[in-house]
Every structure is written in structure tokens, then in C-alpha cells.
């Protein structure tokens, strides 16, 4: 019985975390959290460079697992590009290039 409660709490926590894990490309101004994954998979051949190169550039700019991130601003047209605070830096990037950055939003 006790185990079941603990398990369901774990499941709930996992569900909650999954719900709070979003792509940076889908985040809106005010969203903040921690980067949990930086992948190399979306739209291969559609970034002008291959996805591995894009991933490396993102990593070099500090989009790395564990970094604090907050979306600050977005552009006027199609809400693009976005400006983020990444740890103690500010960076502007296009949403299409931010798809493989996954963030765990802080609990509300």
C-alpha cells in the first residue's frame, strides 16, 4: 500500500516533469527553467549546416545541460527570433534553430 503511494507519487512527479519539459523553440517570454537536453535531430539539412554542427554551435554558446535559461523577448513577426538569458549572458536566436534545446520549466 505504502509502496503504491510512493510509486504513484513518483509517476505523478514524472508526468509533471514531462509536462514541464518543452522545446526552447516553443517557449514564450517569461518562461524560465533549466536546460535538460541539447540534441542533434530536428530538420536535418534545413539549417544551412548539418545538425551536429548546429548542436556544437549551441553548446559553444553555452546552451548546455544544466544551464539556467529564461526567455526575455521575442520578435514582432511570427514571434521570432527570441532573446534569452542564458546563465549570465544574453543571446538572440531563431526559433527554428532552438528546436533541439529542451528545457525543464520551473514549477509554477
Amino acid at each position: 500500500m505504502h509502496d503504491m503511494i510512493a510509486d504513484s507519487a513518483k509517476v505523478l512527479a514524472a508526468v509533471d516533469e514531462a509536462a514541464r519539459t518543452v522545446r526552447l523553440s516553443a517557449a514564450r517570454p517569461g518562461d524560465r527553467g533549466v536546460i535538460v537536453d541539447v540534441r542533434a535531430e530536428s530538420h536535418p539539412g534545413d539549417h544551412g549546416v548539418n545538425v551536429d554542427e548546429l548542436q556544437r554551435r549551441l553548446l559553444e554558446f553555452g546552451f548546455v545541460e544544466g544551464a539556467r535559461i529564461e526567455v526575455l523577448h521575442e520578435g514582432a513577426i511570427w514571434r521570432d527570433p527570441i532573446a534569452v538569458r542564458l546563465d549570465d549572458m544574453r543571446i538572440g536566436l531563431r526559433r527554428r534553430d532552438a528546436e533541439d534545446v529542451w528545457i525543464l520549466l520551473d514549477p509554477q
Binding site: 534545413d46 549546416v49 559553444e60 554558446f61 520578435g75 549570465d88 549572458m89 538572440g92
Partner: protein
């Protein structure tokens, strides 16, 4: 130590963009600087000298800023190869000076780890240290120095603080005979970049306490300047003020210079015997070079604004705001500054496309830059508008000539966007380069650095443009002067020259767009620079000193041209590739004759098409 000079040592400055590296370079070398290009590539090479207390000369190289040694643009390739000592025509540096913004250490720490792998002796300069102190940022310098294994100097480049200390540390390394370790740098993969970040994070945590009073100014300013509506409105206002300034502030200086060149030409003509040499000097060299140099004031005013906004940290924001708008046409956000410069003159515009990493993005920008209405078109526009557009008010407040002028500017911008859009769709399908850029903290520009950059820009324009313009001027002068008029000739001399013959030859080709032979002939000297066409029209219509009395020329044109012809001439000039210097700069920047040829072909085709449509339409409306 004897008085005999010690051997010169080579020092290379490396660092992230926005680290104040150039300010430090200026503080180190003062006016002992030389700007050139690296052999074989169009990357600016800045070198300067500094003397150490020990009597050694340090030759300091200011390398392009980078976030990593994994080079992605031609600039960054230079930095990587110079650091590795593999750059053709350069000797490897004896000591690296890594310049870091003390308030923004995270990314530079990763770069430092890469530099350490290279194995060269290195000094770390923590620049903008005053700002770090003001923010209450605590850095354990000794600990950091031990951890990184290199000496650390704190500097405030804009106030020349810490410079002597930096020079002494470099001298110390050289005097101690530091030779460094074997190069173990390899291009890192994603996993290694992550590891390097973790290491940087560990170092940061161990030796740096976060600021007690972090910079909140940048955030506040950004919420206004990056606001989707207000931000764009401010950008447009800024652009408007800039253009006002470019055309009003510089007018007096520009007029003074063109008067000066005219006077010089007159002086030479008056004091030398009339003949070939005098004609070469006055019509070829003085008026030719003068016609381009008169743009210097405008270019300086424009660059003054650009440098000011750049140093303030605004230009990255402008690129951010414009990215989607320009991206719609297939241009990169960074193309904004080059295209902006092209409103003064395409030459500095094309030269500043070097900030664009991707080759295709850069080429597209170069190809459309001359479509921006440069100031050389203004005399032509003004002449034709004053001759053919009635000075009426429309809709109560707008003047018709002003409206036409605005329309010509708009036509330039729209066609530039259209050409780049079509280029993207037809030739370079596939995606655009990622847009990732740091939005640096706002900083008050340092007046001395602004002036120094401005001086440098002016010097570069004069020397580079000058070396390209000069041979072109000679060619154009030659075409318009040889062979000379026969004895007893009644027509203007140009009519008998090669240019005149080419003009007559081409005239049937240009008849469908309404150009008569006088116009066709005037187009050829107009190749020197667009506004020279005005003087050339004066010459073929045998109006002495057309520059001095534009009214007389306008009246003559009114009597000789139909309205349709006048409008076709305007349409021609929106696109006309009539600037030999631009073609020369494109050759130089792309290192090939292919691109200038493509530019010449497509712009001529567009000019012809536009003039044809305008001429035929106007005729259909009975204006022929």
C-alpha cells in the same frame, strides 16, 4: 642586459567578441598601428608595436574575435590558424594574450581551455575590471591563475589601466624563455564541448563569486529596445535621424571638397599648358578621384553612427529586430549593417559584409548592396526630377518631387529584397545559416576609441577605394579622350572619342528604352561614378560647367528629351551598375571575376527592363 635591442617578439590578442579586445589593442599600441589584409583572404589584419621596459619591441596582432577555435567564418579561420602558427605568411606568435570581459567569464573560460591545449605561453587579461568591481564581482585572481596555469592581469583598456602590467607579464614570459608545450588541440566534438563547459563551470564556481549588484541596466533598456513594437519604432527613428545627419551634416563638407577639387582642377588647367597631360590630370585624376572622395564626409558621418551604436551594443539588437524582416527575403540579420552603409556608398557596404559568416549569405548581400540608393545617384535623380517632375503638391501636403525621390529609394530597397529572394529560391535553395548571436551588455562608448575607429574606417576607404578607383578613372578618361577631336570639329570632343563611338554604336540597342545618342555617350564616363553622368551630359550637350549651373542643364534636357525618356533614365539609374569602383571592390572581396561579371549582367538586364517598361508605358500614356 645590454643596450642593444632585444629581438622582437610576437604577441597575438585572442578573445570573445565584445571583450574590449580592440580597445585593449588601441591602449597597447596607440597610434603605432598598421591595417592591411591577411595574405590571400579578405580579413582585416591589425598589427601594432609596443615597447617593453626591458627594451624589447612587441609586435602585437589583433586577431578577429571568436568563441572557439573551431573556425566557422573566414575571420575565425584566421584566428585559429594564427594561434596554431599555421597561417600562411605569418610567423607563429611567441605569446598569446587572451582578452576576457571580466563580467562575462563563462564562455571565455572554455576558449581559454582550448587555447591552453594549443600549448603556447599565455597571459590572461581580465578586461573591464572596473565594471566587475562596481558590480561587486569577486574574482580570486591567484586561485584562478593557479588553476589555469597562466599569469593574470586586470585591465581597464578604455582608461589605459593595467597596460604596463600586461606588457611586463608578457616580457616576463619571453625573458624566462617560456616555450610552452606541444600542441594537443583537436577540433572538439559535442561531448568534449560539454566536458569543457563542465570544467569551466567548476573553475567559475571555485574562484568567482557572482556579482552583488548585477547589471540591471541592460535588461531595462532591452525591454524597451527589443520590444516588438516600440523597438522597431525606435530603430526606424534612429535610421531616419542617421539619414538626416548623413545628408545634412556632411553636405557642407562635401560641397567644400567638391569645390576644392574643382578649384584644384582649375588651378592645374590654368597653370599647365593645355594638352594631353593637363587633360589627364584635370579630367582624369583630379575630377575622377575627387568624384569619389567627396563621399568621404557622408561615409564618415554614417560610420560615426554605426561605430557609436556598435560600441554601445545596439547593433546586435538591430540585427535581432531586422532578422525576420530580412530573413523573409533570404538575407541574414547581419546583412543589415552592410546594406545600411550602402545608402552612403556601396563600397564600404560591400567591405563590411565581412561580418557575415556564411559564404552564400555574404555573396547575396554583396550582390544586392549596390541596389541600395547610394548618394552618387542623388545628383542624377535631382537633375532629372527638377527637369521633368512638376513641382506640385499632392494630397495637400506631399510634394511630387519629394514623392518621386522617395519612390526611387523604395524601388531600390524593394528590388534588393526581391533579387535576394529570387536568388535564394532559384540558385541557393536550402536553408539559411543559423542565427545565433550574443546580445552584449550595453556600455557607454569611449570617445577616443570611437574617433580612432572612425579614423581607421576613413583611412581604409581612401586607401582601398583609392587603389581601385585610380586605374578605373584612367581607363574611363582614356576612353573619353582618345582619339581627340579633329581640327575644325564642331561637336564636343567626346563625340569623336572611343566613348563617343561606343555610344553611337550602342545607341540602336538603347533606342527601345528611349535613350538618344547623347545619353548613351554620357553613360560611358558615368561608369567612373554614377554622378559623373551629370557632368558628362553637360559635356555632350556642350554646356560649360554643368555642375555650376544645374538649372541650365535641366532646361536643356527639358527641350531635348521627352518625359518618357526622362522617366526611363530615372528607372535605368535605380538599377544601373554604373560604378566601376563597386565592380572593382566586388572583385576584390570575392576574389574572382565571376561575381562582378554576374553583378554587371544582372543589374544591366534589370536596368534595361525597368527603363523599357517605364518608357513604353509612358509613351502609351502619350508622354513620348
Amino acid at each position: 642586459m645590454s643596450d642593444a635591442a632585444l629581438p622582437t617578439a610576437r604577441v597575438a590578442l585572442v578573445g570573445n567578441p565584445n571583450s574590449g579586445k580592440t580597445a585593449l589593442f588601441n591602449a597597447l599600441t596607440g597610434s603605432r598601428q598598421k591595417v592591411a589584409n591577411y595574405a590571400g583572404v579578405t580579413v582585416e589584419r591589425k598589427e601594432g608595436q609596443v615597447f617593453t621596459g626591458a627594451g624589447r619591441t612587441l609586435s602585437v596582432l589583433d586577431l578577429p574575435g571568436t568563441y572557439s577555435l573551431r573556425a566557422r567564418s573566414p575571420d575565425e579561420v584566421v584566428t585559429r590558424d594564427a594561434v596554431l602558427g599555421k597561417l600562411a605568411g605569418e610567423e607563429p606568435p611567441d605569446v598569446l594574450v587572451c582578452v576576457a570581459d571580466a563580467t562575462n567569464l563563462r564562455l571565455v573560460l572554455r576558449l581559454i581551455l582550448e587555447l591552453k591545449a594549443v600549448g603556447r605561453p599565455m597571459v590572461l587579461a581580465l578586461n573591464m575590471y572596473d565594471i566587475a568591481q562596481r558590480q561587486g564581482l569577486r574574482i580570486d585572481l591567484d586561485g584562478l591563475s593557479r588553476d589555469l596555469g597562466c599569469p593574470i592581469v586586470t585591465t581597464v583598456a578604455t582608461r589605459k589601466r593595467g597596460i604596463d602590467d600586461l606588457v611586463a607579464q608578457v616580457e616576463g614570459l619571453i625573458a624566462a624563455g617560456a616555450i610552452g608545450a606541444e600542441n594537443s588541440w583537436r577540433e572538439p566534438d559535442a561531448g568534449q564541448i560539454r566536458d569543457a563547459h563542465r570544467e569551466a563551470q567548476r573553475i567559475l564556481k571555485a574562484h568567482v563569486r557572482p556579482p552583488e549588484r548585477p547589471d540591471t541596466f541592460t535588461g531595462k533598456v532591452d525591454s524597451l529596445l527589443l520590444h516588438p513594437v516600440a523597438g522597431l519604432a525606435i530603430l526606424l527613428t534612429l535610421l531616419f535621424v542617421m539619414f538626416q545627419a548623413v545628408f545634412t551634416w556632411s553636405k557642407a563638407a562635401g560641397d567644400l571638397m567638391s569645390d576644392g577639387f574643382a578649384a584644384l582642377g582649375g588651378f592645374v588647367a590654368a597653370h599647365l599648358p593645355a594638352g594631353l597631360m593637363t587633360s589627364f590630370l584635370t579630367d582624369g585624376v583630379i575630377s575622377g578621384v575627387g568624384s569619389v572622395i567627396v563621399f568621404l564626409p557622408q561615409i564618415l558621418v554614417l560610420f560615426f553612427f554605426i561605430i557609436l551604436l556598435e560600441d554601445f551594443g545596439y547593433m546586435a539588437r538591430a540585427a535581432f529586430l531586422m532578422d525576420r524582416i530580412m530573413g523573409g527575403a533570404g538575407l541574414h540579420g547581419r546583412a543589415f549593417i552592410p546594406l545600411l552603409s550602402s545608402f552612403a556608398c556601396a563600397i564600404p557596404g560591400i567591405m563590411s559584409t565581412r561580418v557575415i559568416d556564411n559564404k552564400r549569405d555574404r555573396l547575396t548581400t554583396i550582390m544586392v548592396a549596390p541596389l541600395m540608393t547610394c548618394s552618387a545617384r542623388i545628383p542624377v535623380y535631382t537633375l532629372i526630377i527638377s527637369a521633368f517632375i512638376p513641382n506640385r503638391t499632392v494630397l495637400g501636403v506631399l510634394s511630387l518631387p519629394g514623392l518621386v525621390m522617395f519612390g526611387l529609394y523604395a524601388a531600390g530597397i524593394v528590388s534588393a529584397l526581391a533579387v535576394s529572394f529570387v536568388t535564394r529560391r532559384l540558385f541557393w535553395r536550402g536553408a539559411v545559416e543559423p542565427f545565433l548571436m550574443e546580445l552584449p551588455a550595453y556600455k557607454l562608448p569611449d570617445p577616443l576609441n570611437v574617433l580612432r575607429s572612425l579614423y581607421l574606417r576613413g583611412k581604409i576607404f581612401i586607401t582601398r577605394a583609392g587603389t581601385i578607383i585610380f586605374p578605373m578613372m584612367i581607363l574611363v578618361w582614356f576612353l573619353s579622350s582618345f582619339p581627340g577631336a579633329p581640327a575644325g570639329a564642331t561637336d564636343p570632343a567626346i563625340n569623336y572619342s572611343l566613348a563617343g563611338r561606343i555610344g553611337h554604336l550602342l545607341q540602336p540597342l538603347l533606342a527601345p528604352i528611349g535613350f538618344n545618342w547623347q545619353m548613351t555617350v554620357a553613360l560611358i564616363p558615368g561608369f567612373a561614378a554614377r554622378e559623373v553622368a551629370v557632368a558628362a551630359l553637360g559635356t555632350v550637350y556642350a554646356i560649360g560647367a554643368a555642375d555650376a549651373s544645374p538649372g541650365a542643364l535641366a532646361t536643356t534636357l527639358q527641350h531635348n528629351w521627352s518625359i518618357a525618356t526622362g522617366l526611363a533614365f530615372l528607372a535605368w539609374y535605380v538599377f544601373a551598375p554604373q560604378c566601376a569602383s563597386t565592380i572593382g571592390v566586388v572583385k576584390r572581396e570575392t576574389n574572382s571575376w565571376l561575381w562582378p561579371a554576374v553583378m554587371l549582367a544582372y543589374m544591366t538586364a534589370l536596368a534595361y527592363l525597368a527603363a523599357f517598361v517605364v518608357y513604353q508605358t509612358a509613351r502609351a500614356f502619350g508622354l513620348g
